[in-house]
């Protein structure tokens, strides 16, 4: 059983490693984004404006570099995969597979994640280190905590993405709602500006939404802005969100499957 998934993962990994030109421009685009964001922060921190802030300039630089890097690794193509497969009608043949469909798509995304780790994230970190110094974690311990938190983040992002993908079963011509979700996540996850800088009221609401647990939580742990005990608490919250989103997805999926079968006649 697991062999089948590993095969899908491996194939996706190998296919992705062959597209060199696309990789080059993707790294260049993300590098521009990274440089521009860090320069923006440097301007904002000029003089003594940064003295009274929650984060130092060094911390926010590391935060920004890591945020853009992990955004290239967190591959959630499932929303587009479902959307295109439904539009093209290929979803039918995918249902013939003897293994659960969503798990297949997850295996594909993980394969892409491995290749992104090698050919997107690694060059970005190397360039960032050349420009702004190596983005070290606050301590070895915070690095150890960062890794599991990242995995939990990815789970939340992937489940959100799969949920948006399900919408395609109902409204095929609605266009790509995945992009709409992505632009909301980008802001509310603290991936551009950490939520600690947001107005109090927004921060309070955000605590009850899943978004800040996708980027801000692992990054906060990495730069040491979140203490060890807080880190465990927020990883607990991440786990709770995974459970909630998983249940919604499972319920939605069961209904959708029935609907597709009826459509197919």
């Amino acid at each position: 059983m697991l062999q089948a998934y590993w095969y899908i993962t491996k194939m996706k990994l190998l296919t992705n490693l062959t597209y060199r030109f696309e990789v080059f421009t993707s790294v260049a685009t993300n590098l521009i984004l990274m440089l521009a964001s860090v320069f923006l922060w440097q301007t904002a921190y000029k003089g003594d404006a940064g003295a009274a802030q929650a984060l130092s300039l060094q911390e926010i630089t590391t935060y920004t570099i890591l945020s853009i890097t992990i955004s290239t690794i967190f591959v959630c193509d499932v929303q587009n995969t479902i959307y295109y497969k439904i539009r093209e009608g290929q979803i039918v043949t995918d249902f013939y597979r003897p293994i659960p469909l969503l798990a297949c798509y997850l295996a594909e995304d993980i394969g892409e994640m491995f290749s992104a780790l090698l050919n997107r994230a690694l060059p970005l970190v190397v360039f960032a280190s050349l420009f702004f110094g190596v983005p070290w974690p606050a301590s070895f311990q915070s690095f150890l905590l960062f890794l599991p938190s990242c995995l939990l983040s990815y789970a939340i992002l992937w489940l959100l993405s799969a949920l948006v993908g399900l919408i395609a079963f109902w409204v095929m011509e609605l266009g790509n709602m995945g992009n709409v979700k992505d632009s909301i996540v980008r802001v509310l996850s603290g991936s551009i500006v950490p939520l600690w800088f947001f107005p109090e009221s927004v921060q309070n609401v955000s605590k009850f939404l899943p978004f800040q647990y996708t980027y801000q939580t692992p990054l906060g742990i990495y730069i040491g802005n979140t203490s060890t005990s807080e880190a465990f608490t927020s990883m607990g919250v991440q786990a709770v969100w995974i459970a909630i989103l998983y249940l919604i997805l499972a319920a939605g999926w069961a209904r959708t499957k029935k609907k597709t079968l009826i459509q197919g006649g």
């Binding site: 260049a28 685009t29 521009i32 404006a49 940064g50 802030q53 011509e173 632009s183």
Partner: protein, 272 residues
């Protein structure tokens, strides 16, 4: 001469009608764009507000001035996307043979390339652009005199020409390589960061690059600095940027046209 122009205008308007009809065929498809584009840009300006409120004005650019600049950059992007979006797909046309068709017709190739697809959906980019710009002009105390409105129109035209020249030059790469990958995404990111945020934030090397080599600073940053008397990071030219931007735009556009013609000589059809 007059009859040639008439002919071109009638072809362009016919294409525009077709393109608009094609895009209105799926009205629900527009809906996701109508949600996404405003979310993206309104959140962008909101991020700037949060940063300026928490910290300080960015190199002397306070929030009203930043809003004005952001809006001006976005409007010129929006209008560009309506009229010149086909410059983004030169590589696709080279690969699938669509470009051959343009070569067979007795009309200017670049005209055909651009006029054959009027991207009506691009107007959606103009919605947040106009709103943000008007709000910025209001709080920054922009003087809506006739002279200023005229200058604004000249700056927009110049800015759009600079953008069109940049994307045409990039697209021309496809004549040699058959594809230019996601150079479009790369150029868009660069343009967004250089036209919607103050250029003076970046190191001198980049400021010089975006002023003299790839003159995208002229699209919105220098004109906005002049309109609002903000800090332009040291570049002072005689006369108004309302003249410099269209001038730079026309020069860039002519150079890009030359590159495009030169590239076409090297064009080999990809199809069989």
């Amino acid at each position: 001469m007059v009859s040639t122009i008439k002919h071109y205008v009638s072809v362009a308007s016919c294409w525009a009608r077709l393109a608009i009809q094609r895009q209105l065929e799926y009205p629900l498809f527009l809906f996701s764009w109508l949600l996404m584009i405003p979310i993206q840009y309104f959140s962008g300006i909101w991020m700037l507000k949060i940063i300026v409120d928490r910290f300080q004005a960015l190199n002397g650019w306070d929030f009203p001035q930043l809003t004005f600049l952001y809006g001006l950059g976005l409007i010129s992007h929006g209008i560009f996307v309506v009229f010149f979006i086909n410059t983004w797909s030169i590589d696709h046309m080279v690969i699938n043979g669509g470009f051959d068709r343009l070569l067979l017709r007795p009309m200017n190739v670049f005209f055909q390339l651009v006029a054959s697809y009027v991207n009506f959906i691009g107007l959606i980019d103009c919605i947040p652009g106009v709103i943000i710009f008007l709000y910025g002009a209001e709080i920054a105390g922009f003087d809506w005199s006739l002279a200023n409105i005229g200058k604004l129109i000249l700056v927009l035209i110049g800015g759009i020409l600079i953008r069109a020249a940049l994307f045409t030059s990039l697209g021309t790469i496809a004549f040699w390589t058959k594809r230019n990958g996601s150079m479009v995404g790369f150029a868009l990111t660069m343009l967004e960061r250089a036209t919607m945020y103050p250029l003076s934030m970046y190191p001198y090397f980049l400021q010089a690059l975006f002023t003299f080599i790839i003159p995208i600073g002229f699209i919105s940053f220098y004109p906005a600095a002049e309109f609002l008397n903000a800090d332009s990071g040291g570049l002072d030219l005689p006369l108004s940027f309302a003249l410099w931007t269209p001038l730079v735009g026309i020069i860039c556009f002519l150079i890009a046209g030359g590159i495009f013609k030169f590239g076409m000589k090297n064009y080999e059809s990809a199809g069989s």
